[in-house]
Symmetry: C2
Subunit: 370 residues, 2 copies
Amino acid sequence: MTLNGAAGGNDKGKRVAAMDGKTKNRPLTPPPDGGRPTLKTIAFMTGLGITTVSRALKDAPDIGAETKERVRLVAKQIGYQPNRAGVRLRTGKTNVISLVLTLEEEIMGITSPMVVGITEVLAGTPYHLVVTPYSATKDALAPIRYILDTGAADGVIISRTEPHDPRVALLTERGLPFVTHGRTEMGVVHPYHDFDNERFAYEAVRELVERGRKRLVLLEPPPHLTFYSHMRAGFERGLRDFHADAVSFHHINIDHTLVEIRDAFETLMRADDAPDGIVSGSGSGAIALIAGLEAAKKTLGKDADMVSKVPSDFLRWLRPEVVTMYEDIRVAGRELAKAVIGHIDGQQSETLQSLSQPELQAAVPVSIKR
Amino acid sequence: MTLNGAAGGNDKGKRVAAMDGKTKNRPLTPPPDGGRPTLKTIAFMTGLGITTVSRALKDAPDIGAETKERVRLVAKQIGYQPNRAGVRLRTGKTNVISLVLTLEEEIMGITSPMVVGITEVLAGTPYHLVVTPYSATKDALAPIRYILDTGAADGVIISRTEPHDPRVALLTERGLPFVTHGRTEMGVVHPYHDFDNERFAYEAVRELVERGRKRLVLLEPPPHLTFYSHMRAGFERGLRDFHADAVSFHHINIDHTLVEIRDAFETLMRADDAPDGIVSGSGSGAIALIAGLEAAKKTLGKDADMVSKVPSDFLRWLRPEVVTMYEDIRVAGRELAKAVIGHIDGQQSETLQSLSQPELQAAVPVSIKR
DNA sequence: CAGCGGAACTGTATCGTTACAGATTTACCC
DNA sequence: GGGTAAATCTGTAACGATACAGTTCCGCTG
């Protein structure tokens, strides 16, 4: 291999551009070392122009096959990684996915496994996960506006959807890719992942009726959230199909504090028409219900049975008499991440919708026999 | 107010720079609207140079008081927010704090309240929180190297520290601000926040001995983590001071699965020299211990008492007979965030160290009297 | 051999910001 | 009046990447 001039060699007889000394695209000076490599570094090492290197790394059609190979090799050797700020400034692409969370969303820690699931998927991509919180007591639109106004992310993940969700309307209108954890009812087709709460409640009723329970109560989500109606619908369909009655508990929902839930439920359980079957829409809520039931001097499994949706397996360890249906939040996180990326990549929203089914949690495995 | 030329007015008789038409710093054309405002927008509106606007917003000493006022007013009116990519490219400042997490760190969801605590503090700053995961089974240094190599963050939060932690060594050597959740023993002074596990174990022993327990067992952290020795030290100091004996359970620690812990503990509880007092270093571990104890046909509160460290209040709702000491992870998140920012701002590391004390959790409040 | 098309590569301008080195004006002094 | 310092403002270049509009050279055609 021959070397022609200061620039790197090229022994295939190709012409070498004139070096008039005023070029900036063909770096003649080695980049100051110590810093991380840039396109300039590779350009210097290969003797190519910065533009060529950039295009070679993108596999552009107007770059020679051998050149691409050389560039890729050098880039890999020196561990080149594109400067995110440079890309972002020039192209607007942030390579950021924003997870928008309520600060209050913290009961029973739904966030942890979700973040894990999301990052598992993002690990194989150039995307970073940025957590953008908001106070539920304030404006849920604020973080969305911030992201839109500052171009802070390429995609957004939101949860706690409402049937007519202003965040979904805004994001759709402004064309920013997003995915929701939960569905909407706005006639807008958008990516989502959801847990089948209708099915959950229906199966819960079936389970309770099979255990001989007839007077059922539901600890439901707050009415403004979409999955409220899903869960209620499943509950009521179950009541009809399996011939059971509902006991009213509408003044309390899973967003109430544990103490509130317990106190209200204790009152209910002391009433003459106390329920004998309980469907709990949340794992932490279930704990408060159990406490209320026991405060009313009733016994779980005897005076009443309970089916609860749970995000972990604590309840089944501590109260195996509760029937638990597992909602895998980690999987949800994975699905959500895949869906936003799909949306960013221009896939059809219809293909980015998924529903996960409740799984009846098996009993804790018993290892030691006696 | 008079207007001189296309540029905004200035009626105090100050000179107006010659407009030779080739300037780029004094924008003569309105910025393309629809986009978000930049310094150029403000420069156009005020008739000032871009540089002046930039310096005015930073309150630089060489800008007139009235000019600053005008610039600030316009900036506020049009909702100017600096472009992060521009700043980052030019200055290297990312305005990012990176939370480095193990994907496996998920038992009992320590992450949720931590993320909430951190974002609560960051909300009042220009910092964003980026979650950077790694697989504990692989190289814990990988994410640190990534951040260092790509300049991905201004500050880093790490947890699960070891006495000689290579991450701390690397970050210190490379001068990137960080804070650890947990201490180290390397002779390196660095910001940290930690829970006083020594005190926790000591007080736990006191509590158990006061309840008449004499043969105590500790469910400890894995030995390679720093707080292992803290907790052990507190436990042993307690044994000495309060005259109790230790029952060995060293082959199991809080990183084992719940099933492993339960099975091992069941075996232990069936032995002749079974313990009568239990100190659990983790809330989820406590659940497995309870299960093991009950599998061995023993009763909590009768055959043995337990004190556990917990990050939430489930255990006290479901098993009020367990004495729980609360570790407030949300507060930890806040402290960690404050400490990294302090470190970034150049505060002395010594002043950025804090230790939170275990609080004996009060019983669940009883509201309904009968 | 002029002309032309295509392959392969390159220069320039630009995104938004800031460091740095001027530039202009005014005030003031001898 | 000339010189100087202080106050205030401005232009240019640069950070790293990319879009776009060339440029160079080759082979081929008529």
